[in-house]
Symmetry: C2
DNA sequence: ATGAAAGCGCTAACAC
DNA sequence: GTGTTAGCGCTTTCAT
């Protein structure tokens, strides 16, 4: 019943033909373009025709083929999203936010889950062949060469949670510098003496910026800072924690380049070293994962407002697609959320919306 | 340099034209079909032509347009993946696994993040218009009507972590029945007396199956079982825990329909009721999230082998696309991983690959 | 091995 | 308002 009799038999090998606008037109006794108009929001079409077309379409189970439409309009309304492993809940949050914001803006997501480390971009290259309307690169450690290349092609690109020097690609990032400096000042205000920083990926702008600001602020205060690298990996963060806490002069304050590592460090400090976190030692992170607020962790951390960052990124994409804007960099402000994993300084803690934040 | 002189000027409004196979052909002095062959794996083409085409393509920055190809081949090599909120790490893991497995099989993911509750499927409907080659529905609480509809259209569909009665749609699920029964027997072996079950979504097959098996097994043993519903939501699980633990006859063993809720319950039991979990009370979950193994939780749980489930789902999709198989249901076996959130029974605990599992 | 020609399913002028 | 006519960029016979 769904097959039109006046069409050549289906070629073998190819998937079964779905009803086309042609089939609908034939059944409704109108031209194929009438069918097209019927499915085009602002098109001029009579109520009568519309009804007949809709009836025929329904009967046939017709669905407009967006692939064909994309071919003509040179617009797929699909946005490529490149994101590293979703193990770290920060990325799940980002993806979820992007998914919501892009859907609201009428876009679909072509997902590309790229391992944070290693592999340049074999398959990713292919994603471009799908003619995505734009690309959102989340913390991709990919050579920013790719991003630049896309930009040259005229493809809108936004980097989320990553900046690249000598690149004109737009980006949205949290306040890495300000945040890390704030954490440093906070820990100093807690009167800690021996500091440590656990870095993420040394190739990541996030880790580098946070480290630079943290170290500079601590050293400026004349205090010693140790340093370890854990590549944003949970197990490596555990190893780093064991190393630091097991040393001769263990730190009494550790700042981790992100929450995910901080959670690992927290576990080691408590379970393996019997420390009471927040008293014997302060541990702070960066991101403010949903989990950071859980009672088991109660992690003091500098918040990256994921929703806001996502919204900005989507707005930038939209602007670029509208040709309104060629894009630039934006820094989204955050807050230092004070919880139980650190000591509490004598000043600066204020309550805002049921949360304690540090605003000295 | 990238614009071909013998083509009409670009129409306004439409995005800038990217170089086409035509442009490459002109530059290389061959026919457009030669260019096509050059980018088609098994096509017959001379080395000489291939080189010239490749040179021209490179010079122009040509990328084969997969949209156009999809139109002809009626194959997009894109799989639609519908998944509920990524807040629950179980779904992040599933998505990550699917992403890897689908990429390895040559597919791309069109992501659709559907809230677990509420909204029927407004935008999702549109996903089908993109002519995805298949659909993977992860725990979608969507009416299975959608799934059936797709199947009728001839679109391969696989449900992951969900079954639907009176539906012929393929599915891959963990061992909900066996797993929950095992947890029940385990908690009985721990000699608990008062049991409780915290359900997820009452519309979800996962929650229903787990509940049925758990309750049946406990009641068979003649023990009392309380019940609460938390819709797989973190905060609702906390509320349920407060209700249960604050009652006159609080349970001494709680089985949660998934780990995510179990983690919430764990926190409440400890932080708000001062219980030593694993001694005063046993708390068990279902899934075995990566976090379940973290020292802060050390959650006893029935494992759902995500990688295996993903692999099976992708294999089923492949089979359906090959026409090899129309699909059926598969149950992937799991193990009860014994950790610190429960008492340890006198028998049945064995060590397997550095883990304790219960195999009575 | 290569080119010409005919579409894939749709949108977008352009006449009527 | 509606039909007609060109394509969008590519793959695929079919000749050569």
């Amino acid at each position: 019943m769904a097959s039109s009799p006046d069409r050549p038999p289906q070629k073998t090998g190819l998937p079964r033909r779905a009803p086309t606008a042609h089939d609908v037109a034939a059944l409704a006794g109108v031209s194929q373009s009438a069918v097209s108009r019927c499915f085009t929001p602002g098109a001029s079409i009579s109520d009568d025709t519309r009804r007949r077309v809709q009836a025929a379409a329904e009967q046939l189970g017709y669905r407009p083929n967006l692939i064909a439409r994309s071919l003509i309009k040179r617009r797929s309304t699909i946005i490529g999203v490149v994101i590293p492993g979703l193990q770290n809940p920060f990325y799940s949050s980002v993806l979820e936010a992007l998914s919501a914001d892009l859907a609201a803006a009428g876009y679909r997501i072509l997902l590309f889950n790229a391992p944070a480390r290693g592999t340049p971009d074999p398959v990713l290259d292919e994603v471009l062949n799908y003619r995505v309307d734009a690309l959102i690169l989340v913390s991709s450690t990919l050579s920013s060469g790719l991003a630049d290349e896309c930009q040259n092609i005229g493809l809108p690109v936004v980097q989320l949670n990553r900046t690249a020097e000598r690149s004109t690609v737009s980006s949205v990032v949290g306040d890495n510098h300000g945040g890390a400096a704030t954490v440093a000042r906070f820990l100093l205000a807690c009167e800690h003496q021996r500091f440590a920083f656990i870095a993420g990926l040394e190739t990541a702008s996030t880790s580098r910026e946070r480290e630079a600001a943290f170290l500079a602020t601590i050293e400026e205060a004349g205090k010693p800072v140790q340093r370890a690298v854990a590549h944003y990996a949970f197990d490596e963060a555990q190893t780093a924690a064991r190393m630091l806490l097991g040393s001769d002069a263990p730190p009494d304050a550790i700042f981790c380049a992100n929450d995910y590592m901080a959670l690992a460090v927290l576990g080691v400090a408590r379970a393996e070293f019997g420390l009471t976190v927040g008293r014997d030692i302060s541990i702070a992170g960066f991101d403010d994962l949903p989990m950071a607020a859980w009672p088991e962790f109660s992690l003091t951390t500098f918040r990256q407002p994921v929703r806001a960052m996502s919204a900005r990124a989507v707005a930038m994409i939209d602007a670029q697609l509208q040709g309104t804007d060629s894009g630039r960099s934006e820094v989204v402000a955050g807050d230092l959320v004070v919880r139980g994993s650190t000591r509490v300084p004598a000043y600066g803690v204020v309550e805002v919306e049921n949360e304690r934040v540090w605003r000295p």
